[in-house]
């Protein structure tokens, strides 16, 4: 049990092809790690910006529309972005999910480790992996939530991406609100109001949790020995989490046309900005 | 039940000494098997924090040091009980051993050139460290030495050296079987062929045949109950040598005590506590040391303070606790700043292990067994007396560079130097020999152990293992501790004799599969009591005071009658050991005053030449086997006069 069994160790007794194999294996691991991390980082950056922009709905449909128009027509940012983001989204999904245990049994065990296991009734056999009594460990549990939210994002995010992709490149009417090419405040607003707000709320909260934990992990994994210590990373990612959580809730409310939120700041500043 | 293994060199004990012998043998192309009660890195060597002595002389306060100065300190420290040639071999090789360990990865602390601050006797002193030595191995101060000579890695010297050594063991691919306890040697006609080994995982009895066998099982302080030694230091390795009836143990009465082990866990707190002004108080929080030692008070030498503490407790002035009597160490007046900086280690130990805050609370302490100078008597090659093919090294052995008192930092250094030297001799011996035995020999010895185990289950005795261990510990610490008198020792010997009978008659009640902890302890028990008895008997018969062996009724060191080494054998079936004596070895430095510790002396009438003339002959009569080099080859005459 727990024998470190790989044909590649120890190096000193490795023979023939194994040497080349070892290097290939090592390179592959490094690239995968970089892909999942970098795509995660870029996506996170995108989302942080995305949520700020979405929140312009707090200033009312006009502001929102102006921003959307600027991004689609003045400069074709949205068109480019959606391609890039969609690709990154799937690369990230593929590379990051390699860490999720493939076997159901293993997934369960990971899950248990994150939770309080004392009530576990599993039997002990010679394989002690089947039995533990570990206390709840925060960062481990957060990882499990990262996997869960990742799944949610995968499902809801793809759907959302499909929707907006459709919008950006089509003139078709959708639910009777399309008047021109692309996205407008009304489109967004109307669609969300008509029931998609639940979906957006779930997606939003998931994304915020997923990315703030992800950023925390990323920072610690690569920079814990620099001035950017684990403590600092934790504080910053917590701030990101809480700020964006609130922003997201407010944003969705505004999109959904909840009177208080919709155009909240717009009214404060007297309508349009 | 059990397996049979065959190897060139079987090493019982994987502490520093055992692993160093293993590495040396493996370098010589031999097939080596290491046995240990625990994974080797958990051996007690890892617990030594202070450091190891070697006369590198790189630091400011080490300048002018050389092996001869180191040798002088060692021989004086031993109160002339050491074999001076062995001490010489040790001092000459210690610097090489340190450098070798540096080569193999020990991160020794290094000299940093320029002015450096130190605390010497509580005062801040700035010393200029030599720039030209920047980056060489540095050293710190330890008691009883003329120079700063103790090499160290922060507070983890034993740990880092053991880890580096175990890395070498991995590198050489040496076979390691951990959780294995040797419980008997296999021998016939004064030739050792290996050992019977009990697995502490599943409880099987295994036979290990070997061309040569090495015992490096460390100290056996746990027979005293309270000891700074690890809980596995129970002396089985030494007692299986005694069990052969042939091999003598040397100087078993030489046992070192430390005044301040904390209660209940007996972890050591440094002498620095008292050096910096810590006081000892009794149950009435009364400072008693000035009554006994008006001059030096708390700062008298280790053995004196320990003795007075015990004496005071026997008067009923100890603090009663569920863990036995103890006294108090008062550090409160030193203040928070002092305790959290200069005595931080002490502060941490108190807080972590007993939850006592020394800034506001009294620390419970008592004198505690610390080191065993005695052990399996070997010649300068580490070859045991009377038993060909059996070697020993480290604390388990009486190679005898420590005599009656070892200096701090010398034992850790001994383990690797002895490992080197003995390892060479082992290789030499092993290459020139063959394993010629009938396979029934191992079976015979295994059968004896099997019967013993069955016997434990069938015994009628009413005692439990714990009861006997506690009684043994009590007898030893009351009468064979730091405080020894003829009457007390007599009583101890008598009591231990009856205890021995009870120990072999202990009944093991629980009969579970696997290692069965109760049985494991029962198997060791008679051996432990035997060791206790050899210590008590040796102390009773030695009517003088020398080093750590201090007799109230014979306060003088008697070089006329007692400049010798006690050898204890336990003939088969006997109920106590028989003692004989041999000369300590060739004398080069004539017996004199240690320069500390005080005490009277009875001068030797003989001249050195007269003493030296018959050393070899008498030692051979005592069972010493031939050495690779003649006696005295490694002891250059009167080199010490130059320094």
């Amino acid at each position: 049990m727990s024998k470190i069994k790989t044909e590649l160790y120890p190096q000193s007794i490795r023979k023939g092809d194994a040497a080349g194999l070892a290097k290939k294996k090592a390179k592959k691991s490094l690239w995968l790690e970089l892909f999942s991390g970098v795509t995660g980082l870029i996506l996170a950056g995108f989302i942080l910006g995305h949520f700020v922009l979405e929140s312009t709905m707090l200033f009312g449909d006009e502001t929102y529309g102006a921003v959307a128009y600027f991004m689609e027509h003045t400069l074709p940012i949205a068109q480019v972005a959606i391609f890039v983001v969609t690709i990154l989204f799937f690369i990230h999904f593929i590379t990051a999910s390699r860490k999720i245990p493939g076997k159901l049994e293993d997934r369960k065990r990971m899950l248990e480790l994150g939770k309080n296991l004392k009530n576990s009734t599993q039997k002990w056999n010679q394989n002690p992996k089947d039995y533990t009594a570990l206390k709840k460990h925060l960062v481990t549990e957060l990882w499990i939530w990262q996997v869960r939210t990742g799944m949610i994002i995968l499902a809801l995010g793809s759907f959302h991406l499909f929707l907006v992709l459709w919008n950006i490149f089509s003139k078709y009417e959708f639910m009777g609100f399309i008047k021109e090419y692309g996205l407008t405040g009304e489109v967004a607003h109307g669609r969300v109001e008509s029931g998609l707000w639940i979906l957006y709320l779930v997606l939003g909260i998931s994304v915020v949790l997923h990315l703030s934990v992800g950023l925390y992990r990323l920072a610690v994994k690569w920079f814990a020995d620099t001035w950017f210590t684990r403590k600092k990373a934790f504080v910053i990612s917590s701030l990101i989490f809480w700020f964006y959580l609130l922003l997201n809730i407010a944003g969705v409310m505004a999109l959904a046309g909840v009177p208080f939120f919709h155009g909240l700041f717009g009214e404060l500043f007297g309508g349009a900005v | 039940m059990g397996q049979v293994f065959t190897t060139d060199v079987l090493i019982i004990g994987a502490g520093l000494a055992g692993e160093r012998v293993a590495v040396e043998s493996a370098k010589n192309g031999l097939d080596v098997t290491l046995l240990s009660l625990v994974p080797p890195r958990r051996s007690h060597s890892s617990a030594a924090q202070g450091g190891m002595q070697a006369s590198l002389g790189n630091s400011n306060k080490g300048a002018g040091d050389n092996p001869t100065v180191h040798w002088l300190d060692t021989v004086k420290g031993s109160d002339w009980g050491a074999d001076q040639e062995v001490a010489r071999i040790f001092a000459d090789n210690a610097p090489i051993a340190m450098r070798e360990m540096a080569h193999y990865g020990v991160p020794w602390n290094r000299v940093v050139g320029g002015p450096t601050d130190y605390f010497i006797k509580g005062k801040k002193v700035t010393l200029e460290e030599p720039k030209e030595n920047e980056g060489l191995i540095t050293a710190r101060d330890f008691g009883g030495t003329a120079k700063w000579r103790t090499c160290y890695t922060a507070d983890g010297t034993g740990h880092t050296v053991l880890y580096a050594m175990d890395n070498l063991v991995s590198q050489y691919g040496i076979t390691v079987h951990d959780r294995m306890e040797a419980i008997s040697l296999i021998h016939e006609n004064n030739r050792c062929y290996g050992a019977i080994v009990r697995s502490l995982k599943e409880g099987s009895l295994n036979i290990y045949y070997a061309k040569s066998t090495v015992i490096a099982t460390g100290g056996y302080g746990r027979i005293y109950g309270a000891s700074t030694n690890a809980v596995i230091n129970e002396g089985t390795g030494v007692s299986i040598a005694l069990d052969t009836g042939e091999i003598p143990l040397g100087n078993m009465e030489a046992v070192q005590f430390h005044p301040t082990g904390i209660v209940p866990t007996d972890i050591l707190v440094t002498e620095g506590c008292r050096g910096d002004g810590g006081l000892l108080l009794d149950v009435d929080e009364y400072r008693f040391m000035p009554d006994y030692e008006p001059e030096k008070q708390e700062l008298a030498s280790r053995d004196v303070v320990s003795r007075r503490m015990k004496e005071h407790m026997l008067k009923g002035k100890g603090v009663k606790s569920p863990y036995g009597d103890h006294l108090w160490l008062d550090l409160r007046h030193l203040g928070e700043k002092h305790l959290k900086t200069k005595l931080r280690e002490v502060y941490d130990i108190c807080m972590y292990f007993i939850g006592v805050n020394p800034i506001t609370e009294l620390v419970p302490v008592r004198p505690t067994q610390h080191y065993s100078m005695g052990g399996i008597r070997v010649n300068k090659d580490g070859h045991s007396y009377n038993m060909e093919g059996l070697f020993s090294a480290g604390e388990a052995a009486c190679w005898d560079m420590h005599g009656f008192n070892r200096l701090g930092g010398n034992s850790l250094a001994e383990t690797i130097v002895a490992g080197m030297v003995v390892g060479e001799a082992v290789s030499e011996f092993t290459k020139g020999t063959e394993l010629k035995i009938s396979s029934s020999l191992g079976e015979k010895f295994r059968k004896i152990q099997e019967d013993k185990i069955t016997q434990f289950y069938n015994n009628e005795g009413k005692d439990t293992v714990i009861q006997i261990r506690n009684e043994m510990a009590e007898i030893l610490s009351n009468y064979v501790g730091i405080f020894r008198t003829g009457d007390g020792l007599k009583k101890a010997v008598d009591d231990l004799k009856t205890l021995y009978k009870r120990a072999i008659n202990v009944k093991v009640v629980t009969k579970t599969a696997g290692r069965n902890p109760e049985l494991t302890e029962a198997i060791k028990l008679p051996g432990m009591v035997k060791l206790a008895l050899t210590i008590a008997k040796g102390a009773l018969d030695r009517t003088e005071s020398r080093g750590a062996h201090t007799r109230e009724d014979y306060p003088a060191r008697d070089d006329e009658n007692w400049l010798n080494r006690t050898l204890a054998r336990w003939p088969e079936g006997a109920d106590e050991p028989t003692l004989t004596y041999e000369p300590v070895g060739l004398l080069d430095l004539p017996p004199g005053d240690r320069g500390y510790g005080g005490g009277q002396m009875v001068k030797m009438d003989k001249s050195l030449d007269e003493y030296n003339k018959i050393v070899d002959k008498l030692q051979k009569e005592s069972g010493k086997l031939d050495t690779l080099e003649k006696i005295g080859e490694k002891l250059p005459k009167e080199l010490w006069k130059e320094s």
Binding site: - | V38, R99, H103, V231, G514
Partner: protein, 241 residues
Amino acid sequence: MARTLTFKIFRYNPFDENSVPKMQEYKLDETPRLNLYSALYRIKDELDPTLMFDFVCRAGICGSCGMTINGRPTLACRTLTKDLPDVIELHPLPFFKMLGDLSVDTGIWFREMAQSVESWIHTEKEFDPTAEEERMDNKIANDIYENERCIECGCCLAGCATAQVYTDFLGATGLNRIGRFMIDPRDKRTQEEWFELVSTDEGVFGCIGMMGCDDVCPKDLPLLEVFAYVRRKMMVSLTAK
């Protein structure tokens, strides 16, 4: 004070066919300054001689006594009962092979780990007994010691969800060992050799960043710092062919 402590101890003897895993209860009066080392010995000596557990140094130096105490993997000898509630639950460390009750087999795993990371100084140089030692900056010596302080207690493995699932993973202690040799100037392994050793899913990229290791390590080793250093060191190989 004078509490009565309830110990709930995991009992199982894998060598006994009739043994079934269970939690057994023992009651003990709390005495002043009691720690789990003394407490467990008292239970064994006074209540149940069959109880199996491991202590060696009982001073927090040897790493033998790792176990989960109320759900947290840590050293028993360094744990005081006064810091624990009235009910104390003890389990053996998960991850390692079971030997009986609270005792697990760490020896084999750690020896294999040492073999696989080749935990020794790699150098062509022979030791020369007549020469002065090679000089080394004291700061580097201290840095190496900082990593070398690991006592192989196994708590980090017990606290790492990744290690529980991917048994080939070297774990925090294995990665720390690699880091220790990486910063040692005496070790002449090349960047490429390090790369092949550590840039793998058994190595540093197997670590997901659960940080349990860092939270439980009783020696407060800078584990996460070591991983970050090692990770970045691997980037160098990206440009190399």
